[in-house]
Each structure stands twice: as C-alpha cells, then as structure tokens.
C-alpha cells in the first residue's frame, strides 16, 4: 500500500488553525452586522433590480407588496414573505426579518429582501 495517498489519521495543526480562524471570522461578521433595529430600510430587489425601498419607521399600518408571484408583508417591526409560488417555501420559513443586515430571498422567484440601516438619518439631523 502506498503511504503517500494516506491522509493524516489524526487531527493536524492545520485543522486547528482552520477551525479557530473560521470561528473568529464568523464572530467578527456577527459583531459587525449586529447593530440593532433602529431606522431600518427594507430594500426589495426583484430580478436583481431594486424595486422598493421602504423605511420601516414610517410604516403605520401593515400592508402587503406583490412581486413575481411573491407576497411580502411589510410591518413596523419587520418584513416577511407570506406567499410565494415556489417549490420549497424556504423564503416563508425564514420568518420575519427584524435586524439590520438581515437577508432573505426567494431564489426561484428572484425576490430578495435586505434590511439596511437608514444612512440618511444623520444628514437629516444636520439639516434640522
């Protein structure tokens, strides 16, 4: 048997470095993205184009948006898919998006929702 084709039987240093660095990367990504749920803007992309940009703080009454056979429920505290004409309904199972950086997509229907912090808020503060 040629020993050259044997891949290490025991855990290597490389494994540990890989695991630790991936844990650090994912922690950093979470810390960077977690910044509350104030002044959120829900951006809805359809076929890769931004179709809606909704400031959630200005939503007083819940309403729905229909795009590409998908129905999205826009509420004061978040956005959720309520209907989609796709196979696995993963978009509906994702539930309600509430925090900045949250992303949700119905890939077969090419509808994507992203929550972003409202960048205009600070500029408005100066203008007032």
């Amino acid at each position: 048997m040629n020993t050259k084709s044997e891949i290490g039987r025991s855990i290597t240093k490389g494994d540990i470095i890989l695991i630790v660095s991936l844990i650090v990367i994912s922690l950093v990504m979470f810390v960077l993205s977690f910044s509350g749920s104030e002044n959120l803007v829900a951006e809805i992309y359809v076929d890769g184009e931004r179709a809606h940009s909704i400031a959630l703080s200005e939503v007083t009454e819940s309403y729905t948006v229909n795009e590409n056979y998908c129905q999205l429920l826009i509420e004061k505290d978040g956005v959720s898919f309520v209907f989609s004409d796709c196979g696995d309904k993963l978009c509906i199972k994702r539930g309600k998006l509430k925090n900045q950086g949250d992303t949700m997509a119905c890939v077969p229907q090419k509808v994507v929702v992203i929550l972003k912090a409202d960048g205009k808020e600070k500029i408005d503060g100066v203008a007032y």
Binding site: T12, D15, I19, V107
Partner: protein, 174 residues
C-alpha cells in the same frame, strides 16, 4: 476506466442520492437553523471518492447529485447544487493533493462544507441577480463549521478502518 471503478461509482452514486434524499426528510424546521441549510451527508460520499479515486470520480458524483436536483427540485435547485458541489469538490481535491500534510479529514470536511455553502450562495446571488445576498453567509458559515466537523469526523474514523479491507485506495488497483 476500469470496470470495478465504474461499478463502484454507480453504487456510491446511488448511496449519495439516497443520503441527500433522506436528509431532506430528516431535517425538521428548527427555527434557529439557517433556512435552506442541510447537513450535507452525501458529501461524505463525495469526499470518500475524492480521497480514493481522485477528482474525476468525485466530479461524477457531484454531477449526478446536480442531475438528481434537476429532476426533483428543478433548474434553480440544480444550479445551486452544481455551484456548491463543483466548488467544494475542486477545493477538497486540491487539498487532498497535499496528502494530509496540512489538513486531516476533519479539516477537509470543514473546507468542503464551507466551500459548498459559499458556492451555493454565489449561485443564489447569480440566479437572483442580487449580490447583497452574500450577507446570509454569516449564518451559513457557522452552520458549515458544524456540519463539516460531522462529515469530516465520520471520514476520520472510517478511513483507517476501511484501509484494512483495501477499501481506501482504488487508484492503484485494477
């Protein structure tokens, strides 16, 4: 290609398809898991073939899985399966070339899982045309670490035992 390789690929291809079908039934909709994430049990087969037969065999399993996704889940599913499968197979085969000096099967499993998720996410970005979808990656990265550890550990335990029966190296056999 030798006859025994053809038949082995057929058997392992079937096992891979059954595993990916079973895991889609087994996974309940646990709320804190990232939506659409799967444990990737069939990647154990892909990695086993990558380790024993090399890139062509592993790529065959990957393409077979994509074809299965095309039949059962449609074009979007097939494209995402292909995106994840091809990227992870290429990466795992690349690292196997280093003959385990850098990573053991554990590390290879994690690389395979992370690359599979990355490839699928990139495929999802292409299909939906929205690059910002890459945001979702942070959930998938943590999940891939866990599932990759599981698949890698299975191979780490399995391979030395299979080697005793000659089931760990088909490259030098007729």
């Amino acid at each position: 290609m030798k006859t025994n390789k053809v038949s082995l690929l057929g058997i392992f291809g079937a096992v891979a398809l059954v595993l990916s079908f079973l895991e889609s039934m087994l996974i309940p909709d646990i709320p804190f898991l990232p939506v659409g994430a799967k444990p990737g049990l069939s990647n154990i087969i892909t990695m086993y073939i990558a380790g024993t037969m090399g890139l062509p065999g592993a790529m065959y399993i990957t393409l077979l899985k994509a074809l299965f996704a095309l039949i059962t889940r449609g074009a979007t599913g097939a494209f995402m399966s292909l995106g994840g499968g091809v990227l992870s197979t290429l990466c795992v085969c690349f690292f196997i070339k280093y003959q385990g000096r850098i990573f053991s099967w554990l590390g290879l499993g994690i690389i395979g899982a992370v690359m599979h998720n990355l490839g699928q996410l990139m495929a999802a970005c292409v299909v939906s045309g929205t690059f910002a979808l890459i945001n979702y990656g942070k959930y998938l990265l943590i999940f891939a670490l866990i599932t990759g550890t599981v698949t890698g550990s299975v191979l780490l335990i399995l391979m030395p035992r299979l080697r005793k029966f000659g089931g760990a190296d088909y490259k030098n056999k007729n």
